[in-house]
């Protein structure tokens, strides 16, 4: 019976351990995505020097702009043009339109994503509305720019990049004072 008790204890510990492991998968997943860049996530503004670019490295490529509203976000959010042929190494500027058609003041946050994910590290944004929270008064309309440059070292098999933006409603997550401060 002593042997049996030992087996039972080990098995119960395994069950508890696997329960803990299922919750541990959450941070593991985040870290894994961050290290491998799987989600095509791009962080903050980046500095990219266009000084040392050889002219012959430059090439043309297609950039497409996709916008989504998350779940119940009521704003209108769209790019001024849906696609654009650019030259790598040359800075570009594209405008996006935001419109809050509701009768309430709201705050939104845009999260960017580049597809294919491998291209994310070659896509440099020097100015973007996605770096900040956007506050729109009831009925307000805004046009905001994205300024970007694509690194000419981008692998040749990537013929085009999609820049996806998802707009989230974060009004409820902020306090009145925070909203007023924006």
């Amino acid at each position: 019976m002593k042997e049996a008790k030992k087996t039972i204890r080990n098995l119960s510990l395994t069950v508890v351990g696997m329960c803990a492991f299922s919750f541990l998968l959450v941070p593991i997943y985040d870290v894994f995505c961050e290290i491998t860049g799987l989600n095509g996530k791009i962080e903050g503004p980046s500095v990219f020097s266009s000084k040392n670019i050889e002219e012959e490295d430059k090439r043309e490529m297609l950039i497409q702009f996709v916008t989504h509203n998350n779940e119940f976000m009521p704003w209108t959010f769209k790019p001024e043009i849906t696609q654009l042929t650019i030259t790598t190494g040359v800075q570009q500027r594209v405008m996006f339109v935001f419109e809050n058609k509701t009768s309430e003041d709201m705050v939104g946050q845009v999260i960017p994503s580049v597809s294919p994910g491998r291209g994310a590290e070659y896509f440099h944004k020097t100015e973007c509305f996605c770096f900040e929270q956007q506050k729109l008064l009831a009925g307000e309309r805004l046009e905001l720019p994205v300024v970007f440059i694509v690194d000419p070292n981008i692998p040749l098999d990537i013929g085009s990049l999609s820049l996806g933006y998802t707009l989230f409603d974060i009004t409820d997550q902020l306090s009145k004072n925070q909203i007023a401060a924006l």
């Binding site: 998968l25 779940e71 491998r118």
Partner: protein, 538 residues
């Protein structure tokens, strides 16, 4: 493999006749409520699984009635979705898994020469919480807005943002099912580790015991992960967390990773014990010991280990990097090797055997043939570029029903026909058994084979309606499903007839079964308490 001459079994029909004097079988309902006897609990599990099989089957009938012709005729789309969801949940957690646990309870102690399971009171508890879990799940169908309608895979955000309040009941019932399975699995492992008869070394264990030992380890590893996944769904939906909600920094794709980390081992939990059953049936009716016993054990173990590294083949289309797709494609295809070893061994066992075709053998042979078809369509689905075409079509539905219905379910049928004379002491009606087999065999193929065609042609799964060009095949599928469904009532009749009026069976039941394991050395039916003195295996 234990050979006949090696077994000395006190308490067997041959050596001990006064066992009956010790049998004090409690009477009435309390016998079943308070029982700690492995045979009683096995019986309870098997009857419960059969009732759930009929309930889940009735839902399948609703699904097929609606899909008999294009357009919406019988049920609302929301109710259709509830039927597909609850049909899946009931068949997985209510029918196949409890049926295997019932077989384990009946057979493992008798096969390893133990007087009972190691933890008999926990055994009682792990059965008796199950009916409650399924009452909760089924009652959620009567809530306002209906029961769960997000598919048995409960993908977020369908189960979080877009589900109704019955999700709470769904989560609670899955928790209870998980606790029941974990307790059952602990019981099986402790029994096998500590209560084998002297001389029964690991490599002399019957294959059914081996398959259940591996299954129990899979259960212990992944049922807690399922519990974690449903808990995260619960807190996301009701308590404002954001595990799977992008607005709060979560990721819905992560749900699929966690779910299928549980889900893929789960599909092997539902097939491995069937591997064990058909191994015993095939060796008995081929009158040859199983070919390649050792390779069977190693194949089994490799399948179980590989099952932990293939989960993302269920989600090739979520947007994975190429390296990930290749890894999961190759690791999935690797599983075909140990599975191929098993199929080869079954065929090699039959090769030049002196085969007779009693009902259990018919089901076992059909298992080998049709499970292999399911395995092949699984290989097709493992090919990433092909999977982009097949994903979420009826081809997938055809694939997993081929491995679950003529796979797991036929394995269970084979086991029930094979051991029912041992359990009840009475033979079943062979003519009716064969009728049950042939009706099931023909209708199961009529039901699931055409699904391959409509799937390849692009019919998506989980819709109550479909495009006109799929109408003929769907009518065939529905007719097959109705025949298959009603044929199973015949099984109920056969079992009741065997219990009440069946011909007496000998303790060997089948020809020369004393070669095939300790359970055949016992009386038919075995006395209430068996192997109170452990037999010796040499």
């Amino acid at each position: 493999m234990s050979k006949a001459t090696d077994i000395i079994a006190p308490g067997s029909a041959a050596t001990d006749t006064h066992d009956d004097h010790h049998d004090h079988i409690p009477k009435g309902i309390t016998r079943w409520l308070f029982t700690t006897n492995h045979k009683d609990i096995g019986t309870l599990y098997l009857w419960f699984a059969f009732i759930m099989f009929l309930v889940g089957g009735a839902m399948a009938m609703v699904i097929r009635a609606e899909l008999f012709q294009p357009g919406l005729q019988i049920v609302e789309p929301n109710f259709f979705n509830q039927m597909t969801t609850v049909h899946g949940l009931i068949m997985v957690f209510g029918a196949v898994m409890p049926a295997f646990t019932g077989l384990a309870n009946w057979l493992i102690p008798m096969m390893i020469g133990a007087p009972d399971m190691a933890l008999p009171r926990m055994n009682n508890w792990s059965f008796w919480i199950l009916p409650g879990a399924f009452l909760i799940l089924l009652s959620s169908l009567f809530m306002e807005g209906g029961g769960p309608a997000f598919g048995w895979t409960f993908y977020a955000p369908l189960s979080t943002t877009y589900s109704n309040d019955s999700t709470g009941l769904f989560v609670f019932s899955v928790h209870i099912m998980g606790i029941s399975s974990i307790m059952g699995a602990i019981n099986v492992i402790v029994t096998i580790f500590n209560m084998r008869a002297p001389g029964m070394t690991w490599m002399k264990m019957p294959l059914f015991v081996w398959t259940w030992l591996i299954t129990a380890f899979l259960l212990i590893a992944v049922m807690p992960v399922l519990a974690g996944a449903v808990t995260m769904v619960l807190t996301d939906k009701f308590f404002g967390t954001s595990f799977f909600d992008a607005a709060g920094g979560g990721d819905p794709v992560m749900f699929q990773h966690i779910f299928w980390f549980f889900g893929h081992p789960e599909v092997y939990i539902m097939i491995l014990p069937a591997f064990g059953i058909v191994s015993h049936v095939i060796e008995t009716f081929s009158r040859k010991p199983i070919f390649g016993y050792t390779s069977m054990v190693y194949a089994l173990t490799s399948i179980a280990i590989l099952s932990f590294v293939v989960w993302a083949h269920h989600m090739f289309t979520v947007g994975m990097p190429l390296a990930g797709e290749l890894f999961f494609m190759y690791s999935t295809m690797l599983i075909a090797i140990p599975t191929g070893v098993k199929v080869f061994n079954w065929v090699a066992t039959m090769f030049k055997g002196s085969i007779s075709f009693e009902t259990p053998m018919l089901f076992a042979i059909a298992f080998v043939a049709l499970f292999t078809i399911g395995g092949f369509s699984g290989l097709m689905l493992a090919i990433v570029p092909a999977d982009f075409q097949y994903h979420d079509t009826y081809f997938v539905v055809a694939h997993f029903h081929y491995v679950l219905v003529p796979g797991s379910l036929f394995g269970i049928f084979a086991g029930v026909y094979y051991w029912i004379p041992k359990w009840t002491g009475n033979m079943y009606d062979e003519t009716l058994g064969k009728l049950h087999f042939w009706l099931s065999f023909i209708s199961v193929n009529l039901t699931f084979f055409p699904m391959h065609f409509v799937g390849l042609a692009g019919m998506p799964r989980r819709y109550p309606d479909y495009a006109l060009q799929f109408a003929d095949f769907n009518a065939m599928v529905s007719v097959g499903a109705f025949i298959f469904g009603f044929t199973q009532l015949l099984l109920l009749f056969i079992v009741i007839k065997a219990i009440r009026t069946g011909k007496k069976a000998s303790h060997e039941v089948w020809e020369d079964t004393k070669d095939w394991g300790l359970e055949w050395t016992l009386d038919s039916p075995p006395s209430y308490h068996t192997f109170t003195v452990q037999p010796e295996v040499k």
